[in-house]
């Protein structure tokens, strides 16, 4: 089948979303705020043991002052990556089409 790999991947993503929706009902039922980052969870475990952070990003650069600004920077990161990927794949595709059909 020509699109076998794509179909498997799409099905896996749908299952993944399904699992998320199901897990979310469980998380909502507990009434606690879920879906934090695992990076943060690891650090919270250490803080619970009494560890104190000895240096912070804002000591030398910058911590995004709000969630909106952080998501803006993350989006910019993804945009630059995506632009690069789209541009290169687009030129490869055109190059191949021109080789096959010079007009």
């Amino acid at each position: 089948m020509k699109y076998k790999l794509e179909i498997i991947t799409v099905i896996a993503i749908i299952i993944f979303i399904g699992i998320f929706l199901y897990t979310d009902t469980l998380v909502q039922a507990t009434g606690e705020e879920g879906w934090g980052g695992s990076d943060g969870l690891g650090s919270e475990m250490l803080e619970a043991q009494g560890y104190e952070q000895w240096i912070d990003n804002s000591d030398y650069t910058f911590t995004p002052p709000s969630g909106e600004i952080e998501s803006c920077l993350f989006a910019l990161q993804a945009v630059f990556g995506g632009l690069l990927i789209g541009w290169v794949f687009g030129s490869w595709y055109t190059e191949r089409r021109l080789k096959k059909n010079p007009n």
């Binding site: 879920g34 943060g40 990003n57 993804a78």
Partner: protein, 232 residues
């Protein structure tokens, strides 16, 4: 997998920096020599770096009720090898440390070690090993990409467990606890990442198979076989 700034005490952050630095410098040297020989590879390098940028910005929800992100290092690791990947990954981590407060300068060595070095090294050598015994190409890419991702998180757990052994049970107990937070959350994401990279490799084979032959990702005969499989 980011260890947050200030969460690795001395001497651990220095140790990881010292271990990571030679790999990154060697990567710079390899990157320069490969681009000098072959300007054609520059677009593929851009795509490989682009995927690390995009995928490591995506925080996805997982079965454990917390979010984590894929690493995106597999394309670069399989095509350019782990040392050049170390450079690309380092650039992404530096960007995140300076501008998004994810990870930091002191923990950058440890974060580079997990995401940009050990993960790609494992993925790359497993790919090469399975390629030698003529394993199916797409299944091999899936396994390599899965490992690039999951090993990264295992290394992060290891780094934290070494720095913070539990009072009861020591290093092993602590390692288990961190694996529960990081690796378990990562498992479904690693499977999705593996599948996504399989599709990406399919498109590269359709558009630019000669680059993969040049980089010795596939031999010419095997490439013909894989191309046959795609067109069926």
């Amino acid at each position: 997998m980011h260890i947050m700034e200030g969460f690795l005490p001395s001497p651990w952050w220095q140790i990881w920096w010292i271990l990571a630095l030679p790999c990154i410098i060697y990567g710079f040297y390899k990157l320069r020599s490969i681009l000098k020989e072959n300007r054609e590879l520059l677009p593929l390098l851009g795509v490989a770096g682009g995927f690390i940028f995009v995928l490591s910005a995506l925080k996805l929800p997982s079965v454990t009720g917390s979010c984590s992100h894929p690493t995106g290092t597999a394309l670069s690791a399989i095509t350019f090898g782990p040392w050049i990947t170390a450079v690309l990954g380092f650039i992404v981590l530096l960007f995140q440390a300076l501008f998004i407060a994810h990870g930091g300068i002191t923990t950058l060595g440890a974060n580079a070690m997990s995401m940009a070095i050990v993960g790609p090294v494992v993925g790359y050598y497993v790919y090469k090993g399975l390629d030698k015994i003529n394993f199916n190409f797409f299944a091999n890419v899936f396994i390599a990409a899965f490992l690039c991702d999951i090993v990264t998180y295992c290394v992060t757990s290891l780094e934290l467990a070494l720095a913070f052994p539990a009072t009861a049970g020591g290093f092993v107990a602590s390692f288990g606890a961190f694996l529960g937070v990081f690796a378990l959350t990562q498992l479904p994401l690693a499977i999705i990442e593996g599948l996504v990279f399989v599709v990406i490799f399919k498109y590269i084979i359709m558009l630019k198979p000669e680059l993969l032959i040049k980089l010795k990702v596939l031999s010419e005969e095997k490439m013909k076989k894989v191309q046959g499989e795609i067109e069926e």
